[in-house]
């Protein structure tokens, strides 16, 4: 029989709870205690409340005892602090939302509950998901369990670390320009961003609504697919959602021999040697599962970052206009007029958020709209067409997730442009709305520290099943293994 430990998968937990070998309350207690013990060191969670966790777990035990078989029975899930969980404080890592408690669940959370999952707590994020390191949070930075002093990547750093360190088997984040894939690469776990529209954004605090998607962290591809199958699909509360009709259940059995993988040549320039080596390793592994690798080209991929940030900042300046403190968050006082009070409340935003709102307002303003925002929108058509041309020839595309290994705290904080460059390989998939998956491929040594390296697979619009098929084959061939890691760099083997 499987015994419960930090590396027990979500699928195993669900099976144990459905068979009543373990109670959901015991599973919840195990992970909650682990989270409580390690969180002071990692700062992955910004909210943990046992009474609320226990209450949910008891409800699951009741449902199971009544004969319900639940796909995520008793599975503890960590939720990024930009996704609404009814009754849990939601702050987006910002001072401006202090005190806000959502009166409703995001659709993804509602579906997790229906599937039997337990929301273990809320995880740290760069303020309003704007960042690549989880350093820009009101709660302070999240630590990377692999090495003291290294960032976990961002913006969903808290969720990535909660999975990497085995505080939960699976977690939700959001990926606007790489905010799931980058921290997954930096912490050695799977990070999956689905096709735009695959998972409802209802209840997700909007930052850049045309780019962002909820994403999933896990230690194995089966758990990624399990959570995805529970939360994806059309939702009447989000008009951009769709059922893409790909067969997730059968994707693991599919024969991938003869498939074609295209390595995006342009993304190999300027990456660190560790990342380049890992890409080469992946090509070898693909060869072993009989996937044919060739060079692919997305000629204008290098200009994606500029277009991405223009669109993201423009949409942010519009989306974040709603934070005036009137309906939620830090409240205005009633001494001065609306405009003065509003400006004072909004000074509670952190520096990066202010910078992006101001830049976005500029890019959208009269006289500059055509040259900045609209030009970026035109570029979006160009890059989408280049991807489409590549997918006429290839089943999947391969590129590094990050150009470098996890960097050190403070290293990129003073110069926003250097920080933005961390996302150079992840933003193209968001511009074109494509599904992409970080594979926790290998480890590399730097300065006596062992650090994870991630490589991403990208598939055509609505073709997430292809990512799962390839990842599953690679995992079964022994090419990918994501272990639980405790501070600092102590590896606990997963089952």
């Amino acid at each position: 029989m499987i015994t419960l430990d930090a590396g027990t998968s979500a699928a195993q937990i669900a099976s144990l709870v459905n068979n009543q070998a373990y109670k959901a309350t015991d599973v919840a207690e195990y992970f909650f205690e682990r989270a409580r013990e390690l969180n002071p060191v990692l700062n992955a969670f910004v909210y943990l409340d046992w009474s609320k966790v226990n209450e949910q777990a008891r409800e699951i035990d009741l449902r199971v005892s009544r004969g319900e078989c639940l796909p995520l029975a008793g599975v503890p899930v960590a939720i990024k602090d930009v996704i609404s969980v009814k009754g849990y404080p939601l702050t987006c890592g910002s001072r401006i939302l202090q005190g806000y408690i959502p009166p409703f669940d995001a659709t993804a959370v509602k579906r997790l509950r229906q599937a039997g999952a337990v929301m273990l707590g809320m995880t740290n994020t760069d303020e309003f998901a704007m960042g690549s390191s989880t350093e820009n949070s009101f709660y302070g930075p999240t630590n990377n369990p692999w090495a003291k002093g290294r960032v976990p990547g961002g913006s969903s750093g808290g969720s990535a670390v909660s999975v990497a360190a085995g505080l939960v088997p699976v977690a939700l984040g959001t990926d606007t320009g790489g905010s799931v894939r980058l921290p997954a690469a930096f912490t050695g776990v799977y990070g999956f961003k689905p096709t735009y529209g695959a998972i409802s954004r209802y209840g997700v605090v909007a930052y850049s609504n045309s780019l962002e998607q909820i994403g999933i962290f896990a230690h194995n591809i089966n758990d990624v697919a399990l959570v995805y199958s529970c939360i994806s699909g059309k939702d009447e509360y989000d008009g951009t959602t769709d059922d893409f009709g790909c067969d997730i259940d059968r994707s693991f059995e599919r024969d991938v021999s003869g498939w074609r993988a295209g390595v995006i040549s342009e993304t190999l320039d300027g990456v660190s040697s560790a990342v380049r080596d890992a890409t080469e390793d992946l090509l070898d592994h693909l060869g072993h599962i009989e996937v044919i690798s060739e060079r692919a080209s997305i000629p204008h991929i290098g200009q994606s970052l500029a277009a991405y940030y223009l669109i993201a900042m423009s949409e942010a300046s519009s989306n974040l206009a709603r934070f005036d403190g009137v309906r939620y968050g830090v409240h205005p006082s009633f001494t001065d007029d609306w405009s003065t009070e509003y400006s004072r409340v909004r000074s509670a935003f952190g520096l990066e958020v202010k910078r992006r709102i101001i830049m976005g307002a500029f890019a959208l303003s009269k006289g500059y709209y055509d040259m900045y925002y609209e030009r970026a929108a035109r570029f979006r058509s160009l890059i989408s067409a280049e991807f489409e041309a590549a997918f006429a020839k290839f089943d999947i595309l391969v590129s590094p997730t990050s150009p470098t290994l996890p960097f050190k705290f403070g290293e990129r904080l003073d110069d926003p442009l250097t920080m933005y460059l961390s996302d150079i390989h992840t933003v193209p998939a968001n511009l074109a709305g494509l599904p992409a998956l970080n594979l926790p491929l290998s480890k590399s040594s730097e300065g006596g520290e062992t650090l994870p390296v991630g490589i991403q697979l990208i598939a055509g619009f609505g073709k997430e099943d292809k990512l799962l098929s390839v990842a599953s084959r690679l995992e079964r061939a022994g090419a990918i293994k994501s272990d639980v890691v405790e501070p600092w760099g102590i590896v606990q083997k997963t089952q």
């Binding site: 806000y100 408690i101 009166p103 735009y196 529209g197 045309s210 008009g239 951009t240 769709d242 204008h300 290098g302 200009q303 970052l305 500029a306 277009a307 940030y309 223009l310 300046s317 206009a321 005036d324 009137v326 309906r327 939620y328 409240h331 205005p332 009633f334 007029d337 609306w338 009070e341 509003y342 400006s343 004072r344 909004r346 000074s347 935003f349 520096l351 202010k354 910078r355 709102i357 101001i358 830049m359 307002a361 500029f362 040259m371 900045y372 030009r375 970026a376 929108a377 035109r378 570029f379 979006r380 058509s381 160009l382 989408s384 110069d415 926003p416 442009l417 074109a432 709305g433 619009f461």
Partner: protein, 98 residues
């Protein structure tokens, strides 16, 4: 002026934009943002090297058009729940005077 011409993101520009988006800034923040955004805008000039005039813009990648539902009323949050995060009085939300 076209993209790529160096746009000088002066502190005065930052102040003007900040007042438009209703964010009060300290002098220190104004100067830092002006310096940072000057570099960022220069980087955005990357896009000026491309001929995009004949490419149609994409504002969203969703392939759905006019998602709609049946026009029928239904219950949402009750009033007390809807205003629970606001400063409310008699079921109304209280806001500063305009």
């Amino acid at each position: 002026m076209s993209v790529g011409d160096s746009y000088d993101f002066t502190p005065a520009t930052v102040r003007r934009l900040a007042s438009m988006v209703r964010i009060s800034l300290t002098e220190e923040e104004t100067i830092k943002i002006s310096r940072d955004l000057s570099k960022v805008v220069e980087y955005f000039g990357e896009l000026s090297k491309l001929d995009l005039d004949r490419t149609e813009p994409t504002y969203t990648v969703t392939r759905r058009k006019n998602a709609s539902r049946e026009d029928r009323g239904r219950t949402g949050l009750d009033q007390a729940t809807a205003v629970q995060n606001a400063i409310s009085q008699d079921g109304f939300i209280k806001a500063p005077r305009v």
